[in-house]
Each structure stands twice: as structure tokens, then as C-alpha cells.
């Protein structure tokens, strides 16, 4: 790399000062990105913590007293204004994680295995499975909102089979079923492609050896595929967990957080508290608390599953 620096100096006409001088050119290359990085990723990291220590009413700049950790304490004080709705939202987010993560990972793995064989039309199926992922959350949500309407096609089908129609979006757990199905439909292609890529990297010789030893395809799946996929499984599990914890657009459009705040999620709550109510201090505190929860979850995930990997 020394040659590079030298040639820089030559090329930029600064050969007179020779090597010692640090070239400014590399900094010009990184400057545009660094500017945005500093303003919208590095700075808000600290600024968010700062805001969370104030009663930061967005609409009343003249009255923003320092309150220390009170915004955090309020989250644990059953008497505070925020307590009930925040923990309700946190509980709902947890519920959606329980609903969604297992199918999002499990079905994606199944789809990837189906796509990993050789047969005519394989590319077409891959195209179809991935297509919804390219759509906007609005399209996915409005579409499934229509499908799960009381007068929608799902209820038509139920009635056609002689069953009672269900008020999917207006009742629990119907609303979670609708949101989960919409989410699976919309995003599962992403996990599928990641699994498919990983499957294609498993050496074929392992399967050959196993089949010579008489292992059937189920044994091959659990004794070769799953262990070989372990690190990718942990990765997919983690990003799916984080994505599910960030649920917002689907309930915003499909249920408006209802019925009775039953599908209001943490992001929804922070949006409500900070943007709609202008309470930036408490919203920032909530964000940081949730971020710490997510980081711990990611850490545990890797520690728990990552450790078994090294056996």
C-alpha cells in the first residue's frame, strides 16, 4: 500500500514533499458519506440519550426541563401516564414475535429446501416465492386487509364450506392471524433466498457419502443440512426477531393498532408518543429501552445458539 501513497503524491503534483505528508485525497473520497454518517448515525446515538434526560415537549421549546432518569423511571412506575400503554405495546410486540418468528424461519427453510433440488420450473417457483418481498408494506397490508375484511374472500371461502365468518381484523387473535399471514406472505422470500444460498454452499460430497452409507433423505436433512446451516440459522433467526420487533406498517394500515390497542406495537407506541403527542423525551427513553432489549436478545441468541455451534 505504500506504493499507493507514493503514487498519490506523484500524481497530485505534491512529489516535492515526498512520502511523509498525508494525502488529502482519501479523505475527499470518504467525506460525503462521512458527513451523513456523522449527522444521522453517530450524532443521534448521543443526542437520543441526551433528549431522553429532558421533558422534551416538541411543541413547547421554551419549557424543556432536565429530568434526569425520570423518563426511564416512568416506564417502570405503574402510576405514570406512559406505563400501561407502553407495557401493553411491549407485550403485543412480544406476542407478534411468538406468532411470526417460527413460521418465518421454518417455512423459509422448507421453501429453500424445495428450491434446492433440480427439476424443471425451479426458477419460476423461486421468482414467485420472492416476488411479494419487492412490494411496499402498504401494498401488502392493504391487500391482506381487503382479503381479511368481514366481507372479504377468506370469509366467503369459510361460508362456502359451511363455516361461520370471522371478524378477523376486529377481534383477537384474528387480527394477529391476519397480520402474521400478511407478514409471512410479504417477507418470507428474503429468508428463503438466504437459506437457499447457504444450502447451495454445502458440499454435494457429504450427501453422496451419506447416501452410500444408507442414510435416507430425512436423515440427511437432520444430520447434514441442519448442522451445516447452524450459523446461517442463527443469523436468520436474529434478523427475523429484529424485523418482527420492528412491526409497524401492517398494524398501522390493517388494524390501526386495534382492537382496543390489542395490536399496537412498540414502534407504533413510540411513533404515537413522540411524533403525534410531541413527547420526544419519553419517546427517546422508550426507544433506548427497546434498543437495549433488542441488543440483549441478539446477544443471548448468538450466545445460546453460537455456543452449541462450537461443540
Amino acid at each position: 500500500m505504500a506504493t499507493n501513497v507514493e503514487s498519490v503524491n506523484v500524481s497530485t503534483g505534491r512529489a516535492t514533499r515526498k512520502k511523509k505528508k498525508v494525502s488529502i485525497v482519501p479523505y475527499l473520497f470518504i467525506a460525503p458519506h462521512l458527513l451523513f454518517f456523522a449527522a444521522f448515525l453517530a450524532w443521534p446515538f448521543f443526542y437520543g440519550v441526551y433528549i431522553s434526560l429532558f421533558r422534551f415537549d416538541f411543541l413547547r421549546p421554551e419549557n424543556r426541563p432536565f429530568v434526569g432518569l425520570k423518563n426511564y423511571a416512568n416506564l417502570f412506575d405503574p402510576g405514570s401516564v406512559q406505563f400501561d400503554k407502553f407495557w401493553n405495546a411491549l407485550g403485543n410486540t412480544g406476542e407478534f414475535i411468538l406468532w411470526s418468528v417460527l413460521p418465518l424461519v421454518g417455512i423459509a427453510l422448507l421453501l429453500a429446501v424445495l428450491l434446492n433440488r433440480n427439476y424443471p420450473g425451479r426458477g419460476v417457483f423461486r421468482t414467485i416465492f420472492f416476488a411479494p418481498y419487492t412490494l411496499s408494506v402498504t401494498v401488502a397490508s392493504v391487500l391482506w386487509w381487503w382479503i381479511f375484511q368481514q366481507t372479504g374472500i377468506v370469509n366467503e371461502a369459510l361460508q362456502g364450506m359451511g363455516l361461520k365468518p370471522v371478524n378477523w381484523l376486529g377481534d383477537l387473535p384474528g387480527a394477529w392471524v391476519a397480520i402474521t399471514v400478511a407478514t409471512i406472505w410479504w417477507t418470507i422470500g428474503f429468508n428463503t433466498i438466504i437459506f437457499l444460498t447457504a444450502l447451495q454452499e454445502i458440499p454435494k460430497s457429504l450427501y453422496e457419502a451419506a447416501s452410500l452409507d444408507g442414510a435416507n433423505s430425512r436423515q440427511q436433512f437432520f444430520l447434514i443440512t441442519v448442522p451445516m446451516l447452524r450459523s446461517v440459522l442463527v443469523f436468520v433467526l436474529t434478523i427475523t426477531l429484529i424485523a418482527s420487533a420492528n412491526l409497524f406498517g401492517q398494524p398501522y394500515i390493517m388494524t390501526a393498532g386495534g382492537p382496543a390497542d390489542g395490536t399496537q406495537t412498540v414502534i407504533y407506541r413510540i411513533f404515537f408518543e413522540g411524533i403525534l403527542r410531541g413527547q420526544m423525551g419519553t419517546a427517546a427513553a422508550m426507544s433506548i429501552f427497546v434498543a437495549i432489549l433488542l441488543l440483549s436478545l441478539t446477544y443471548l441468541n448468538f450466545k445460546f445458539f453460537g455456543a452449541t455451534e462450537q461443540q
Binding site: S7, P132, S136, E208
Partner: protein
């Protein structure tokens, strides 16, 4: 010899596997087709509903009896719904965002891949660290920053925060690192500077990754919902299509045909892009997996 044999054997084995028994072959294709229907039928239902007249919306027929385009004309003609504006806003924002990302991330990616400068490792480490930070932490402070800049309701307010992202930088860096160093050395010997080398030697070799990054950046921006909702939510004319469609739903609550027509307008450009650039889109996601 062995290689040939193995390949041959592989093919044979796969055939045998699928042909194991008629029953399992049938089950395999049945599973595939059921999943394909799960992904396709909702899209088809969107198209069908969009072309149905009012009287047919609530009927479960999959072929409109009297197909019509009135759902489209009525949303385009409704003065309170500037759908054309939304479409143009989405297009403009996605183009500007993509262009900006391609320029600043390939520049930065090249520097982190190939140039030496004090502070490089520190900066790169900082960027890596932000990858694990949950995005929710940045929402409120960035909203305040954008409002301090008086950018609420503006295009730059939607675009600027996203330019801080590190994915594109890593993506381009990874590609530049894979290029042989001899290319640059030859250019330097010929007397070209870093800038000239980058523009006339490196960039022409980078078409593939630039297209890949461009397509996924465009899609991400075109489909983005939460941030444009926060920044543009107060100004009806300035909305993007995804945010606008959500507004449409608020206004036309039970006008299903019109809503599906709106959803279709939002979907068609994306599916066209997907049809043309599928390979690039899927490759970029494969890379995400490898990175993890």
C-alpha cells in the same frame, strides 16, 4: 475423471430422488404448487378487484363480469387525491436517493477498500458498530435534527438521513477488494492519479455491483413507509405513493376497487423492475447472508 463421474452421479441421483415413487413426486409438486398459489392468488385478487365495477366488489368471482377501468380513472381524477403527484414524488425521491447512494457509497467504499489514510480503521470500526444498533434509536433524534434544519415536509428531509447508511459502503468495498491490485498499479505507472484511476479504470469494471446496489436502493426507497410518513405526513401533495395509498385507505375505507387500483399502480413499476433485474436483486440478498 472423478469429477465427471461425480457430476454425472449427482444428476442421476437427483432424478432418482424425485422419481423415488410416484407418490412422493406428486407430493413434492403439490407442495410447491400450493405455496405458489399462496403467493400468487392474493396478487391476482388485487388485479381482479381493481378491474371490477362497484356492484361486483363483494362477489367472490375471479373473473369480472363487466370489467372496467373506472376505479383507476376515479382515483386519478379525484382532486383531493393527487395520485400523479405522489407517483412523481416517489419517482423523484427514489431516483435522487439512488443516485446519491451510488456516488457517495462507491467513493467511500473505494477508499475503505484500497486507499490508506490515518483513522481508516477507527472510522471503519465505528461504521461496523452501527450495524448492530437497532434502528429505532435513531428515529426520534433524527426527526428532531430534520425539523431543526427545517426539512419537515421536504424531499431532502426524506432522503438525507438514509444516506448515512453503511450497507452500500460495505457492499462496494467488498467488491473493490476483489479486484486485482495490478489494475491500479498499471494506471499509477502510466501517471494517472487516484481520481483518474477510480473513474476510468475501476468504475468501468464495477457495472454489476453498481446495478445491484442501484436496484435494491431504488426498491427500498420506492417502498419505504415509516420515515416518509413522519416527514411528509403533514403535507398531502408532498406524499409518496406508499404513504399516499395509506391515506387513500383512510379516505375510501370501503371502496375496495379503488384501493386495489391504487395498490396496483404502486405495484406495477416494482414488478417490472423485478422482472428485469431479478438476478441482481436476489444476488444482493445472497450477499447479505454470506456477510452474516
Amino acid at each position: 475423471m472423478t469429477t465427471l463421474q461425480t457430476t454425472h452421479k449427482n444428476l442421476q441421483e437427483t432424478d432418482v430422488e424425485i422419481g423415488e415413487s410416484k407418490v412422493s413426486k406428486f407430493g413434492f409438486y403439490l407442495t410447491l404448487i400450493l405455496f405458489a398459489l399462496f403467493f400468487l392468488l392474493p396478487l391476482l385478487w388485487m388485479v381482479v378487484t381493481a378491474f371490477k365495477p362497484f356492484e361486483e366488489w363483494l362477489n367472490p368471482n375471479w373473473i369480472p363480469v363487466n370489467p372496467t377501468i373506472e376505479n383507476f380513472t376515479s382515483i386519478f381524477n379525484d382532486k383531493s387525491l393527487p395520485v400523479v403527484n405522489w407517483f412523481l414524488n416517489s419517482l423523484l425521491i427514489a431516483f435522487l436517493f439512488t443516485a446519491a447512494i451510488l456516488i457517495i457509497d462507491s467513493l467511500a467504499g473505494y477508499a475503505y477498500a484500497r486507499l490508506e489514510f490515518p483513522g481508516k480503521n477507527l472510522l471503519f470500526g465505528l461504521m461496523l458498530a452501527t450495524l448492530v444498533m437497532p434502528g429505532i434509536m435513531f428515529l426520534i433524534p433524527n426527526y428532531i435534527t430534520v425539523s431543526r434544519l427545517d426539512w419537515i415536509g421536504t424531499i431532502q428531509g426524506v432522503i438525507a438521513p438514509g444516506l448515512s447508511g453503511v450497507f452500500g459502503v460495505f457492499f462496494m468495498r467488498q467488491f473493490f477488494q476483489s479486484l486485482p491490485k495490478e489494475l491500479e498499479e498499471a494506471a499509477y505507472i502510466d501517471g494517472a492519479g487516484i481520481w483518474r484511476t477510480f473513474v476510468s479504470v475501476i468504475l468501468p469494471l464495477s457495472k454489476g455491483p453498481i446495478i445491484t446496489l442501484g436496484i435494491i436502493t431504488f426498491l427500498t426507497s420506492w417502498n419505504d413507509f415509516l420515515w416518509p410518513l413522519l416527514i411528509l405526513g403533514g403535507n398531502r401533495k408532498a406524499l409518496t405513493l406508499p404513504v399516499g395509498l395509506a391515506t387513500l385507505q383512510g379516505q375510501y375505507t370501503f371502496d375496495y376497487g379503488k384501493l386495489m387500483a391504487g395498490a396496483l399502480v404502486l405495484t406495477v413499476p416494482v414488478l417490472i423492475l423485478y422482472a428485469i433485474f431479478q438476478r441482481y436483486i436476489i444476488r444482493s440478498i445472497s450477499m447479505t447472508g454470506i456477510k452474516g
